[in-house]
């Protein structure tokens, strides 16, 4: 296979056909393209006219290039090109595959598995016996290597997984030691140096040929963090001093949530780096693990347990006249001791309790009030540790939170008038949380308070002096502790605060908060709770995992198949057993070089892809282009006129699809409204009312058409805010109690409508409320507020409205009885037509006719007579509006006089 970078050609000899392309070019130049052909009956008249020196026309150069490209594409496609080809293994003898599946093997495990699968397939095809040796194994390989057919290894290869412990190449070396060739060895390495690596490579090379697959990435190991003042101090190591330039470290909670992340940069050329990471206490306490973003291997993950939890220590304030002096101030020692251990707060006791600290430190007598006392008790029960330091006067007044009863007097040792010398500390009792701490020589106690001896004193004692008197006593209170240190927190009673032991003791006490004893201080072995697999996922421990010995360190327990990384210990107190300490201080080194003659390759991240199909596709496209070009040259592709017209038609059709602009819509509305007379009603938004209005006006229109010469069209609903009102002579406005008020523009428009000749019939539709204004009327007043309303009066008896068509004297609607208000002294300019009518009789419901011209709503109380009168009022109103006061003349006067009784 010929390889040119990323492209490989399977049949390179086919590419020799490319040499024939110039010949093709020469040939195509000679052959002219076929001309256009036309029929011509009068060809006899052309005989002799055609000159004989017609040389063959040249093929256009672009057609020539197109055809050459076609030929070249076909030739290359036939040569079977492959993108990112897999290099085949040709060999004869048995194939030995060494797989590095240590903790760094998980970094590119899919690529590793793919290469392994390809190797097995190749071996199966060529029927070579295969042996697979993983370097991070549960059980060390013993005996000579057994070669089996490739198919038998498939299940094993599929189940092969990376392990979270380091590789053991020495064991593999031992297994391979006796092997002789001829054969071939393949080593899927993880790129990290370890003991016996070079020796193993050399031994493998002796088999025949050694091919090493080496990953491209660089290994980064995350170290166990240290607690810092504001959070954590994280550190990492990298194998390659150049790559990567930095990593991103994330803090992940137990349920997988990402809590915080930070960047950790490596200095150029440095293999180690560390940085401080400020984490809020709440986030830190929730964090279960730290991991390098994007890493899938066990080295990039550090499990956290209580050792890194940020504790809160509350130090109760005490009035002390020596507070200003740094070295005499007892708080100074506490402050500097807790500076690295936990967050601490000074404050009054109730405020401290509110923050739920892990440890509460007091130096004085406790005399809290009832509320604080109960809060303190609750906090103690929940697991808080109350640490009390002795002070002068503590013994006189005992309170409830002392672990032991104190003797009234304190003891002074080594004073000027005493025979005794200051006492030293004795080793800590086994049962105390301080067990295991080394007692320095220089710690002396010169003054202390004494506990009353009693039967339970020994159990409560956590630290003793050399003569057996207790130094630190503690009593359990629920899940918490009340601890008393029998010396003060300053340097005056003892030199304990000056020593490092103070720090360690305080650290133990801090961890004691929430009822957790430091697990590694105990004696019991730590059974596994959750273990990490090669991909840094926690899962149930398999039965092969052993319990860690008590107080495990990398020296006492080896991280390996027996003790994989994970959580060990009790239910509540778990101990995180991490990979990084097990690797020790040995630098992480990348494999620098391999012995000569070794074929080093990288893992192919790209799948090889056959390009032949794509090239054939391209050749087909070029063929289509060539055919089109030939047709065009022969004249078969002349654009037709019809095509251009079709295009123009399509463009016109597209233009028609554009939405009609609103100006045209309003034009249509104007046309509709003016081509005929329409009665209009104001749309209130309430569909029932609008329906009634429309039906009412439709009924009125029907009556008008039947009885008069007015033939209105269908009623039109208008929106006072947006529609033009000038088209309508009469506007029926039902007023709802919750009708929205008009905007200023709408108000202006309505006023203008009324002034210029329109008439609005306001119908408040509320039944007669006994003289009071109904809700509709109130709303109407609000609506009309701000409009230019003429003066109103009730309809006088001789108003033209009473005789404009019918002679009526009352104006009932659905109801009757209330007065109808009309414009007083209608202006002559409007021909005496009133511009406003206000009533409450719900005329639309009285006029409303259904589709079969039957009334829709009943009328009260009059029945058909009342409805007829309502119709007559409607007719009169419309006639009055349309005709002005022409009936104001004397046409009906004789009848009126007659009816008046004369």
């Amino acid at each position: 296979m010929l390889e040119l970078g990323l492209i490989g050609v399977a049949q390179p000899w086919v590419l020799a056909a490319l040499l024939a392309l110039p010949g093709l070019w020469w040939l195509l130049r000679l052959i002219p393209p076929p001309p256009r052909r036309e029929r011509f009956p009068a060809i006899a008249l052309l005989s002799g006219l055609v000159a004989r020196e017609e040389s063959s026309a040249r093929m256009p150069w672009w057609l020539l290039a197109l055809r050459l490209l076609l030929a070249a594409l076909v030739i290359v496609a036939l040569a079977d090109p492959v993108f990112a080809p897999q290099r085949a293994f040709q060999g004869k003898g048995p194939l030995l595959i060494v797989v590095d599946n240590g903790w760094h093997g998980a970094a590119d495990w899919p690529a590793r598995q793919r290469v392994l699968a390809n190797l097995l397939e190749e071996a199966d095809r060529s029927e070579r016996p295969v042996a697979i040796l993983p370097t991070a194994h549960r059980v060390a390989p013993a005996g000579p290597v057994s070669f089996r057919p490739a198919a038998a290894w498939r299940a094993f290869a599929g189940a092969l997984a990376p392990r979270p412990w380091p590789t053991d190449r020495a064991a593999v070396f031992a297994a391979v030691d006796g092997q002789e060739g001829p054969g071939e060895a393949v080593w899927l390495s993880d790129g990290l140096e370890s003991e016996r690596r070079a020796a193993l490579a050399e031994r493998l090379q002796r088999l025949g040929r050694l091919v090493v697959f080496q990953p491209a990435g660089a290994a980064v190991l995350l170290q166990e963090p240290e607690t810092a003042a504001t959070g954590l101090r994280i550190a990492a190591r990298r194998a390659d001093p150049r790559l990567p330039a930095g990593v991103s470290v994330q803090a992940v909670a137990g349920d997988g949530r990402l809590l915080a992340n930070t960047d950790l940069a490596f200095a150029a050329g440095e293999a180690e780096t560390s940085a401080d990471w400020t984490l809020p206490r709440e986030l830190l306490n929730q964090a279960e693990r730290l991991q390098i973003a994007g890493s899938t291997h066990a080295g990039g993950t550090v499990l956290l347990d209580d050792r890194w939890q940020r504790r809160l220590v509350g130090i109760a304030e005490a009035g002390d006249e020596r507070a200003g002096h740094p070295l005499l101030d007892p708080d100074h020692y506490l402050r500097s001791a807790f500076a690295d251990l936990a967050a601490f707060r000074f404050g009054p006791l109730p405020a401290l309790l509110a923050e739920r600290p892990n440890l509460l430190v007091t130096r004085e007598r406790l005399q809290p009030d009832a509320v604080t006392a109960s809060a303190l008790d609750t906090w103690l029960e929940a697991g808080g540790v109350l640490l009390r330091f002795a002070s002068a006067g503590l013994a006189e007044e005992a309170d409830d939170w002392l672990p032991v009863r104190l003797r009234a007097a304190s003891r002074a040792l080594g004073g000027a008038l005493s025979w005794e010398v200051p006492q030293r500390l004795a080793p800590f009792p086994e049962a105390s949380p301080f067990a295991g701490l080394a007692v320095p020589e220089e710690v002396t106690v010169s003054r202390q308070v004494l506990a009353e001896p009693g039967p339970g004193l020994r159990d409560k004692t956590w630290a003793v002096l050399a003569d057996g008197t207790p130094l630190v006593t503690a009593e359990p209170r629920g899940r918490g502790w009340a601890v008393l240190v029998h010396v003060s927190a300053g340097a005056d009673w003892s030199s304990l605060p000056l020593s490092g032991l103070f720090l360690q003791m305080l650290e133990r006490l801090v961890r004691l908060g929430h009822g957790q004893a430091s697990p590694e201080a105990g004696e019991a072995p730590l059974p596994p709770r959750l273990v990490m697999d090669g991909f840094a996922r926690l899962r149930e421990p398999p039965p092969t995992v052993q319990a860690l010995p008590p107080r495990p360190t990398p020296a006492t327990a080896q991280l390996g198949p027996d003790h994989p990384p994970g959580y060990y210990g009790g239910e509540a107190s778990r101990f995180a057993w991490n990979l990084a300490p097990a690797l020790g201080a040995a630098p992480l080194a990348a494999i620098a070089d391999w012995p000569g003659g070794v074929d080093v390759r990288g893992f192919q991240q790209r799948r090889s892809q056959d390009l032949g199909a794509w090239l054939f596709l391209a050749a087909a496209a070029v063929l289509v282009l060539d055919t089109l070009a030939s047709l065009w040259l022969r004249g078969h592709l002349r654009p037709r006129l019809g095509g251009a017209m079709a295009l123009a038609a399509a463009a016109a059709g597209l233009a028609l699809l554009l939405p009609a602009d609103p100006a045209r819509a309003s034009d249509e509305m104007a046309l509709r409204a003016t081509l005929n007379t329409h009665l209009a009603y104001v749309e209130t938004g309430d569909p029932a009312v609008d329906r009634a209005s429309r039906a009412g006006l439709a009924g009125l229109s029907h009556i008008l058409t039947a009885r008069t010469s007015v033939e209105p069209g269908t009623p039109i609903g208008v929106d006072v805010e947006t529609d033009e009102l000038a088209f309508f002579p009469l506007l029926y406005w039902p007023v709802l109690p919750d009708q929205p008020l008009l905007s200023n523009a709408a108000r202006e428009r309505v006023s203008a409508f009324m002034e210029r000749g329109g008439t609005i019939l306001f119908d408040t539709r509320d039944r007669d409320a006994g003289g009071e204004a109904g809700p509709g009327t109130l709303r109407l007043r609000q609506l009309l507020d701000g409009m230019r309303i003429p003066p109103l009066e009730p309809v006088p008896g001789e108003h033209v409205l009473t005789r404009s068509f019918y002679l009526i004297s009352e104006f009932p609607g659905r109801w009757e009885g209330a007065p109808v208000w009309i414009e007083a002294n209608a202006a002559a300019a409007r021909d005496g037509v009133t511009s406003i009518l206000i009533g409450r009789h719900d005329w639309a419901a009285a006029w409303a006719l259904g589709p079969d011209w039957r009334p829709l709503y009943p009328v009260y109380p009059g029945g058909d007579r009342q409805r007829e009168l309502a119709y007559r009022f409607g007719v009169n109103l419309v006639m009055h509006v349309l005709t002005g006061n022409y009936k104001g003349d004397q046409v009906h006067i004789p009848d009126i006089l007659e009816r008046l009784g004369q």
Partner: protein, 298 residues
């Protein structure tokens, strides 16, 4: 051509023919000098015009005695009528493959246009009482005269489907006229001989050249290969527009040559392109046929 197509063309042709008002039979019969149809043969025979009175001879049918003339004298006389015989018009339609050509789909092929013209002229002549017939390779086929002549004419026309370029050189009876319609692309010498052969017994004729506008003005461009439609050798033109002028002049010369040949033999030469309206040609044909009458009478 198919009979159905002919029928269709007939309807179209009759529509054209109906547009010529002056050719109605009654009007023509009034004017004797331009009367078409009955031509006096200056002898006694069947006819409508009076020729002479002849004394009665024994053996003549008694009912032929003209009593009015006999009453003027004391001998019986018979009225004799002039022998009026219709002139025969023989149509020749060029059916060679070159007539199936049209340069643009919007114009008719030459063959179709020639058929329309032929049927229109035949309708005119038949409507005026002339005898019409079809000139086929096997001889003249008469369609007779009268109102069914056109139908018979169409049948004969459909049946005569030879592919000669020239009208057949066969003897025609006296007092015949030939109306030939074709694209007349045969060489001028051939046309000369053929027309001479046809004119030998004193036959006159009209030759109508029906061509396509693409043949009148050479409009091809670019590099193309021209194929003849009757088996001529194809011509490969590198730049067709270069030959346009030469071709046009050749075409005009051919037409002029045909006109000269016709002139010599007493024929008329009419030119028609398929993008012109057929009415124009019918008018010319009518004019030519009327003049032909005058020439024949004189």
């Amino acid at each position: 051509m198919a009979a159905a197509l002919l029928q269709h063309r007939r309807r179209e042709a009759e529509a054209w023919a109906g547009r010529l008002p002056a050719l109605r039979t009654q009007a023509l019969r009034v004017a004797a000098t331009v009367a078409m149809g009955s031509h006096g043969r200056r002898r006694a025979g069947q006819g409508d015009s009076f020729w002479q009175f002849r004394p009665y001879r024994p053996g003549d049918p008694v009912r032929r005695i003209d009593w009015r003339r006999s009453a003027r004298s004391d001998r019986p006389f018979l009225r004799e009528r002039e022998w009026e015989a219709a002139e025969s018009f023989w149509f020749w339609l060029d059916r060679s493959p070159s007539m199936d050509y049209h340069s643009h789909p919007n114009v008719l092929t030459k063959g179709e246009r020639a058929a329309v013209l032929a049927i229109a002229a035949a309708a005119l002549l038949a409507g005026s009482g002339e005898r019409i017939g079809v000139l086929t390779a096997g001889g003249p086929v008469a369609a007779g005269a009268g109102k069914h002549a056109l139908d018979r004419f169409l049948v004969h026309l459909a049946g005569a489907a030879d592919e000669a370029n020239l009208p057949p050189a066969i003897g025609l009876p006296r007092f015949s006229s030939v109306i030939g319609l074709g694209d007349t692309f045969a060489p001028l010498d051939d046309w000369d001989r053929r027309i001479a052969a046809l004119s030998a017994p004193g036959v006159r004729g009209q030759l109508v050249q029906v061509v396509d506008p693409g043949e009148v003005r050479f409009a091809h461009r670019g590099r193309l290969r021209l194929d003849g439609m009757e088996g001529e050798a194809p011509e490969l033109l590198r730049r067709a527009e270069d030959l346009a002028d030469a071709y046009n002049s050749r075409f005009a010369a051919h037409g002029d040559g045909l006109a000269a040949i016709c002139q010599r033999r007493g024929w008329r030469f009419l030119r028609h392109a398929t993008d012109e309206p057929p009415l124009a040609l019918l008018l010319s044909l009518y004019q030519a046929l009327s003049l032909n009458r005058r020439v024949a009478h004189a």
